[in-house]
């Protein structure tokens, strides 16, 4: 099955500012795909170009087999959007918003069902401005689904939500995918990316610096995985000949093996083969946040002029 979204060499300039330099990625059918990156990295510009809300300066975008730049009008009815920094009129009531947005499309589910599913029935007659942040976000998701889209874009959906509300939002996003849609989310929350996304693209400075499953990004990171155990056996040089191992160090009985990818499994089987069965064998993985900060160049580093990068 061809990818649902294929972006190739996307570039977007605003005057002299190059917001997106060179971005290519693809999203498969039924995935929750995350776009991760620091503020100003070009995440929103990228997804807004993909949604046809902005004109790319160059590059190609295909969505659902259609040229998303040249024939974007054919796509509008098939995608659902939740935008960053968007709003509804303060005095528009919840039911009016759903009823209105449902009238822009043909087909699609009955909006009263969406009202129910997203827990807004009791708030149907409440004005947008009187909703809590979480309720507003739920309304935005419901509006994004009102045309029964095949691809849903959610830009910083959980921004400003309390931890409980974020968990609820994650469940709702999984539910969207369970109904068969492909979901693209933009976020800068690591836990969100790790828990929710099947695959991630990390954007920094207008370019993709990494793509892959969250676990792949961690396993392949330069920080490596540390495997620790204790043994009284002195000669462990054979551990260094394992492919996935890059270094072995020890302090007394405590041994630390550094490596990448399947280093834990390889080390474990080698230990067993040599008759060593430590009870405290464990792997320490860097967190996605560590790996992410390495990729984007951690915010702590300042450049020559003293500006924080």
């Amino acid at each position: 099955m061809p990818p649902v979204i294929e972006v190739e060499h996307l570039q977007k300039r605003y005057g002299s500012l190059e917001a997106v330099k060179d971005v290519s990625f693809s999203v498969e059918q039924g995935e929750i795909f995350g776009i991760l990156g620091p503020n100003g990295a070009g995440k929103t510009s990228t997804v807004e170009c993909v949604q046809g809300l902005r004109e790319p300066s160059s590059g190609s975008i295909r969505m659902l087999g259609i040229d998303a730049i040249g024939q974007r009008s054919q796509l509008r009815g098939r995608i659902g959007s939740q935008l960053q920094e968007s709003a509804l009129p303060d005095r528009m009531k919840v039911w009016e918003a759903l009823d209105l947005f449902a009238s822009f499309t043909t087909g699609g589910p009955d909006w009263k069902v969406l009202l129910e599913q997203w827990g807004l029935t009791e708030k149907a007659k409440t004005s947008f401005a009187d909703l809590s942040g979480g309720q507003q976000q739920r309304l935005f998701i419901a509006l994004a689904l009102v045309n029964e889209p095949e691809v849903v874009f959610l830009d910083e959906l959980t921004q400003g939500l309390d931890p409980g509300a974020r968990r609820v939002a994650w469940d709702l996003i999984r539910e969207i995918r369970a109904r068969g849609a492909t979901v693209v989310i933009v976020t800068h929350y690591m836990d969100e990316a790790e828990q929710l996304c099947d695959r991630l693209a990390v954007i920094s400075g207008g370019e993709i610096v990494a793509t892959g499953r969250p676990q792949e990004l961690i396993a392949n990171s330069e920080r490596g995985i540390k495997v620790r155990f204790s043994t009284q056996q002195q000669d462990l040089t054979w551990l260094e000949s394992i492919d996935a191992v890059s270094a072995v160090s020890r302090h007394g009985d405590a041994v630390e093996v550094t490596g990448s990818g399947p280093v834990l499994a390889m080390t474990a089987s080698a230990l067993v083969a040599h008759g060593i069965v430590p009870a405290d064998l464990r792997a320490l993985q860097p967190s996605l946040e560590d790996v992410y900060l390495d990729m984007i160049g951690s915010g702590e580093e300042a450049d020559a002029n003293g500006r924080v990068r």
Binding site: Q51, L53, S73, R76, G77, S81, L83, E85, S86, A87, L88, P89, R91, M92, E96, D99, L100, F101, S103, F104, T105, L143, V146, N147
Partner: protein
Amino acid sequence: MGAFAKLTWVELKLFTREPFAVIFTFAFPLIVLIVLINSFQPEEGGFGGFGEADPQDYYLASYVGVVIAAVGLIALPVHIATYRDRGILRRFRASSLAAWTIVGAQAIVGLLMAIASSIALIVFARVFYDAAMPESPGLVLIGFLVGTITFLSVGVLLGIVTRNARGAQAVGMMLFFPMFLMSGAGPPRDIMSSGMRSVSDVLPLTWVVSSLQNPWLGEDMEWSNLILLGGLLAVCVVLSMRLLRRV
């Protein structure tokens, strides 16, 4: 109901929930009308340079113009700028609704509100002050429609070019009050100094007020004013269409 009709209906409801817009469109012209009618005692006819006109006749005709200016210069631009500023327009665009559709629905609401407010003024002035009804209703209606549509186009343009809702409100007020005071809706033009009158001559609201007052009070329509309004309309529409694509 189709999407555009539904959008217009929702916009109409939203307008009536907006105290600022409702006050400026309905209450303000009515209050100033009452104050002005009561400030001037009826003379022996001929108020404001019109043959048999009493103050209430003169001011009723000009206050329909004030309604038009209030909708076009204040209510509509603030509304459109708010939509732009807060990302409401973007949200609609993401659901494949073109910006001009939304602005168009808002302009239609503006027209309906101007009509409703003008009718309220006329009924009020008729019942309480026995004000004169138009001598040439057909021509008054033409003046009203051309004036309203032109001022709505000015409102759309202001809503697009101003930075945000506050900016739109400031610019709208700055245009509204001088025009309101110098278009003949405040002091009658025939008592203005010649310098003040030449400023008044170039104010679009003066063209509207004249296109309402003349046929209302039995004078000849000055078609040149309608042509000027038409020119202003064309400029605003062309500029708005261009700028809206970039919103």
